[in-house]
């Protein structure tokens, strides 16, 4: 019964959700909102478990002086700092000028921005590897990328200014993005759509059970 009950609930709710897409009449018209609300409620409760798990893991590392325990100490200190300051501000903790707001604007946002900025360097190294002309496909990628990148910056049109209107590098870049790129992406999207239907059906019918911790 430990597996059957979740499977029955999954099946009923799954079929209900498929039906509600086609039936605008109540109660089906409310189903999406109801379940969305319930998911948010369960998610909000579950976040406590996540935070506790993080604290427990970090505390264990510090207490047992495991390898790299210093990082765990930083996690605990940061967590407690933001929680204590946030709680001490009361319900107005997000109002501009509060200590919580200061931490958010001058610590959290710059740290996130730093991580995002690292992406530029990773793009450069990944592009170098991807664009090496090892075979026909990689060469094709290199050539397409060369024209698209050049066509997306003003210098591209300066270099191809002598070409007739519609044949400049920016036009070529737009053509590559609008036609071959869109066609490829749509093909992937169609496959994804079919994959989602297939997986959903497997889950609804109870054939796929690994997500509830069971195989056969």
């Amino acid at each position: 019964m430990r597996r059957e009950i979740p499977l029955i609930i999954t099946g009923i709710v799954g079929v209900g959700f498929v039906i509600q897409y086609f039936i605008p009449h109540a109660p089906f018209s409310y189903m999406s909102d109801w379940f969305s609300d319930w998911f948010s409620i369960v998610g909000a409760c579950a976040i406590v478990l996540g935070a506790l798990n993080l604290m427990k893991m970090s505390a264990q590392k510090v207490i047992r002086k495991k390898k790299d325990w210093g990082y765990a100490l930083v996690i605990i200190a940061s967590f407690l700092l933001i929680v204590i300051i946030g709680l001490s501000e009361g319900k107005d903790f997000r109002v501009p000028g509060t200590r919580f707001d200061w931490l958010y604007n001058y610590m959290y946002i710059p740290l996130s921005a730093t991580m995002f900025a690292i992406l530029a360097f990773f793009v450069a190294s990944a592009s170098y590897r991807a664009f090496r002309a090892r075979n026909f496909e990689a060469t094709l990628l290199l050539v397409a990328a060369f024209f698209v990148m050049l066509g997306r910056v003003p210098v591209g049109d300066v270099l191809s200014g002598f070409m007739p209107e519609g044949w400049r590098l920016s036009d070529l870049a737009s053509w590559v993005m609008n036609y071959p790129q869109s066609a490829g992406q749509r093909a992937i999207m169609i496959g994804i759509g079919l994959g989602i239907v297939s997986t959903s059906l497997r889950v609804i019918l109870g054939i796929e059970r690994s997500h509830i911790g069971g195989g056969k």
Binding site: V18, P24, S29, R129, V197, T199, S200, S210, H211, G214
Partner: protein, 427 residues
């Protein structure tokens, strides 16, 4: 189990004939019960002091219908424009009035909305009705002079009241009949091939290189005595990609338990942590190694996108795992994660249905499951006939789509028939 009777060849043919017939009906699917009254007659209701020349001709052919394909509480009103409605004409705005039915006659009319003049066709949706209550509607053509945003005078002509009409919720959204038929066809094939597989028929599905490499990747970690990392992406359990990822995690965990290789699953959603923990625990039991499962194998990092990426990057650089799996929903952090893994020489297998992140994974990982492969991977790894059958059904769906694209290209290119309208989807 015996195949249902509808799977007989003749029955199949009949089934598709019916479906095609329904499909052809799509463009003609309209709400029934629309009542049209004869043209209304306009009359002026403005003060007598205004010159009669200022009064516009009333709108005509007012119609009100229960808004089709909706959840009720809405009536759609349409009318034909006044002959004085043209550029520089007398009609400046149309006002829509509504009255409840009192003793079979319209009660007091109240304004429910207005639409500026200057269009060819007019319609208005009154979304504040009560289902089952009968209403009358009338439309006023208004000529006015406005100074400093205040009307100094108005000359109004109104139509005769139209009604009674009441709103109601519908039991089927006919605009979505094409999606409904598509789901039925696809489900039919998936269930058909699941039944085929259950009856023992061998089904062929093409090899997925990324999944073929799972054994090798886990084996490599075992040989090197290093960890395996499994990153289930950023989304929560309400996302199909996460569910697919958790399904794959079960298979990978079973394999790592068999090889006695440590599997670590850092997650960024609490609900995913709870589910993944249960799945990994169960996989270890299934592999006959429940004693080797540790609660901390699946642990929470943070809900924040770049905090999560930074956390994993730090762990990867410090612990140098031999194998990393990235399966699920990824955004801008995909390349940050994959490049860091690449820099430490880990064998990396990625899978996502986010088209914009696929090039990054392809560039930085050894194997990438592209879109649909992510959803087929669990079935592929399990080798269970029932699951393989569903993948086969998915392939047939792809074949149908391919055929539709070819037919559509021909029909649309030569302007024979507006084929693409069959596939228009209403959100």
């Amino acid at each position: 189990m015996r195949l249902p009777a509808i799977l007989d060849r003749k029955a199949c043919a009949a089934f598709f004939v019916v479906l095609i017939f329904l499909f052809l009906l799509v463009p003609n699917a309209r709400s029934q019960g629309q009542a049209v009254k004869p043209d209304s007659i306009g009359r002026a209701i403005s003060p007598d002091s205004l010159s009669p020349d200022l009064y516009p001709q009333a709108a005509t052919r007012v119609e009100a219908i229960d808004t089709p394909n909706d959840a009720g509480e809405s009536i759609s009103i349409s009318w034909k424009k006044s002959i004085d409605d043209y550029d520089g004409g007398k009609v400046k705005v149309y006002r829509i009035y509504r009255a409840e039915v009192v003793n079979g006659q319209p009660g007091e009319f109240k304004e429910v909305g207005d639409i500026p003049a200057g269009h060819d066709k007019y319609s208005f949706q009154d979304g504040n009705t009560v289902d089952g209550v009968e209403y009358f509607y009338k439309v006023l053509a208004v000529n006015q002079l406005r100074e400093n945003n205040i009307a100094t005078w108005e000359a109004v002509s109104e139509t005769l009241p139209f009604g009674p009409i009441k709103s109601s919720a519908q039991w089927f959204d006919w605009r979505r009949i094409n999606a409904f038929i598509g789901v039925i066809i696809l489900s039919f094939f998936i269930i058909y091939f699941i039944q085929q597989a259950k009856s023992g028929k061998e089904l062929f599905i093409r090899k997925i290189a990324g999944m073929e490499a799972v054994d090798e990747a886990v084996g490599r970690a075992t040989e090197m005595g290093k960890k395996i990392y499994y990153v289930p992406g950023l989304s929560d359990m309400d996302n199909m990609q996460t569910i697919a990822s958790i399904n794959i995690l079960g298979r990978v965990a079973e394999l790592s338990a068999t090889y006695e290789t440590y599997l670590e699953v850092p997650v960024c959603r609490s609900m995913v942590m709870i589910t993944a923990k249960e799945v990994v625990k169960e996989a270890y039991s299934k592999a006959g190694r429940p004693d080797t499962f540790q609660e901390d194998q699946v642990h929470y990092l943070t809900d924040d996108q770049f905090g999560y990426a930074a956390g994993i990057d730090g762990m990867v650089v410090r612990e140098k795992p031999a194998t990393i799996f990235y399966m699920g929903t990824f955004y801008a952090e995909s390349l940050i994660l994959a490049e860091t893994g690449n820099s430490i020489g880990a064998i990396q297998i990625a899978g996502t249905a986010m088209p914009s992140q696929l090039p990054f994974f392809v560039a930085a990982c050894d194997y990438t499951l592209i879109g649909e492969e992510l959803f087929a991977a669990s079935a592929y790894l399990s080798k269970e006939p029932k699951l393989i059958g569903s993948v086969k059904g998915q392939d047939i769906g792809k074949g149908i789509m391919l055929a539709a694209i070819v037919i559509g290209i021909i029909l649309e290119t030569f302007n024979i028939w507006n084929f693409s309208r069959l596939f228009s989807v209403i959100d």
